[in-house]
């Protein structure tokens, strides 16, 4: 199971302060069990906010979010969040990072290490079990972070631009790697990116957000068999569609930002 339903979700940051910012406004959409959904939108459109809400780290200021029919009340290891920044703990070895969630649950050391090793093997990092994060490349660190989520048996992977900090080669490699892990696993993925090619390559469905405050602009099913050919005419068509959809939003966001900066300077 891994079904998420958002109904009229609104999120305002800093309520009651002078720096109130509406990040999401009236967002309704759902993610089916086992679906790979990619969220794209101009920067600052509340994509990361959405993931914070889905993970349960933050609560919406309006509307409801349910997970498998139950309202989300807080973080749950069932829905794991993976950040762009490496979030492995630098003082722990790779295997102890992967086993961390099990440790929190009180699983004995030997048992949790066995379990972690299994997932390290799956992500191809078995030889790096006793290395520390700073000895791993960026791609390896993200693979370990994914292993950490899988180790707890997460049904939903919430990924916040997880490959944005990687170079092009590694990024492409990681995308295929993620699809390998996901295919046939029955896991649900909500993947945020600002990278159009990434969206078209990975997603079952691409959800497009407007500039701030983020609203749902469009939802596009990607009807291409995997593995997808990134230089095929079909791929080109989706890419063109997303570019066209986003262009007007990016321009609007840009203008608003410039206006805000102008006003800021005036006030100062």
């Amino acid at each position: 199971m891994g079904e998420i339903v958002c109904t009229n979700v609104t999120k305002v940051w800093g309520v009651g302060t002078t720096r109130e910012v509406a990040a999401l406004e009236n967002v309704s959409f759902s993610v089916r069990h086992g679906e790979f959904v990619v969220v794209i939108g101009p920067s600052g459109c509340g994509k990361s906010t959405l993931l914070m809400l889905l993970s349960g780290l933050e609560m919406p200021t309006g509307g409801t979010i349910t997970y498998n029919g139950e309202p989300i009340t807080g973080p749950d290891a069932d829905r794991s969040l993976i950040f762009q920044q490496p979030s492995l703990f630098p003082w722990r070895s790779t295997i102890d990072n992967v086993a961390f969630g099990l440790q929190l649950r009180g699983v004995p050391r030997k048992e949790r290490r066995q379990q972690a090793e299994k997932f390290l093997r799956q992500v191809g990092l078995r030889e790096f079990a006793n290395k520390h994060p700073h000895e791993l490349s960026g791609g390896m660190q993200q693979r370990a972070a994914i292993a950490r989520a899988l180790c707890l048996g997460a049904d939903v992977l919430l990924m916040d631009e997880p490959f944005a900090a990687l170079d092009v080669q590694t990024r492409f490699h990681m995308q295929s790697f993620l699809l390998d892990i996901w295919l046939g696993s029955g896991k649900t993925v909500v993947f945020v990116t600002h990278h159009i090619d990434e969206a078209a390559y990975l997603a079952d469905r691409v959800v497009i957000f407007t500039a701030r405050p983020g609203r749902l602009l469009d939802s596009v099913d990607i009807d291409m068999p995997r593995p997808r050919n990134v230089i095929s005419p079909d791929f080109e068509r989706y890419r063109a569609l997303f570019v066209e959809r986003l262009r007007s939003e990016v321009t609007r966001a840009f203008q608003e930002q410039e206006l805000a900066e102008m006003l800021d300077t005036r006030i100062k």
Binding site: L57, A77, F83, S87, F89, W91, L152
Partner: protein
């Protein structure tokens, strides 16, 4: 290996030049060797102590004889106990201030007011409150380092990268688990830097306390040498103070690199 030899070479050359010039000036009668005895002479003073190199705590004051090793041990024990107590207290109260806003608001002004009082200024009070002996000296080290360390602890805790905390929470960590598994290890390297920076101030506090009232330890050796116009003893004491201070700093540095090799993930 080669760079180590080169560094050692420069060390020998540097110290050798200083000692050489000093000895030369003494041999040529350019300096008064009663006031400024050359190293060759005052280091021999330690031979006079040989019969007293017993595992006693404190210094036996028998005529002009002061037991070198026991004096070193007494001063060393005082600074290490003071540092350890200050560290434990700073982490405990820092955690309390970090988790309880009221406690922080209540204590912060007092601590910022007490922090700038130089450790040396606490000595008269310490002698009255704890009497002559270890208690007073340990207290001086404690106050010299505790306030700064507590402020640093709270500040570092507030600045731990939110991604690490969020990651732990998503993996199911309770508040207490976040504190223990994320915040403590994250701030440890910072606290050690603060300890090292303030080490020499604390060392100064111990020695001064030993000079003005505690009556045992390295500080006392230096002072008694002056009172008896025995500069051999004073310089021997100074040499030992220098060496012990150097070794303390080197020891903390080693601990930092070996045990706390990761960089702090708190941005201070």
């Amino acid at each position: 290996m080669r760079s180590l030899a080169v560094r050692a070479g420069w060390w020998v050359l540097s110290v050798g030049t200083m000692v050489g010039l000093w000895e030369l000036a003494a041999a040529l009668d350019l300096i008064n060797t009663v006031i400024l005895p050359p190293p060759r002479v005052f280091i021999r003073e330690i031979e006079n102590q040989a019969q007293f190199l017993l595992p006693q705590i404190g210094v036996q004051r028998i005529g002009g004889n002061f037991v070198a090793l026991t004096a070193i041990w007494a001063s060393f024990l005082r600074i290490v106990s003071g540092l350890a107590l200050a560290f434990i207290a700073a982490v405990l109260l820092g955690s309390l201030a970090f988790s309880l806003r009221v406690f922080h608001k209540l204590t912060y002004p007092v601590i910022t007011l007490l922090a700038p009082i130089a450790p040396v200024a606490w000595i008269p009070f310490a002698l009255v409150a704890f009497g002559i002996g270890d208690g007073a000296a340990i207290f001086v080290v404690f106050v010299g380092i505790f306030f700064v360390l507590e402020l640093a602890a709270v500040n570092s805790m507030k600045n731990v990268d939110q991604h690490y905390i969020d990651t732990a929470r998503v993996l199911g960590a309770s508040r207490r688990q976040v504190m223990w598994h994320v915040i403590f290890p994250a701030i440890l390297p910072n606290l050690f830097v603060i300890m090292r920076v303030n080490l020499f101030g604390a060392w100064m506090g111990v020695l001064t306390a030993e000079m003005v009232g505690v009556n045992t330890g390295l500080g006392t050796i230096v002072l008694v040498g002056r009172q008896m116009m025995n500069m051999n003893l004073t310089f021997l004491g100074m040499a030992m103070i220098g060496i012990v201070g150097y070794l303390l700093d080197a020891g903390l540095g080693l601990l930092q690199r070996r045990v706390l090799w990761w960089k702090s993930v708190a941005h201070v």
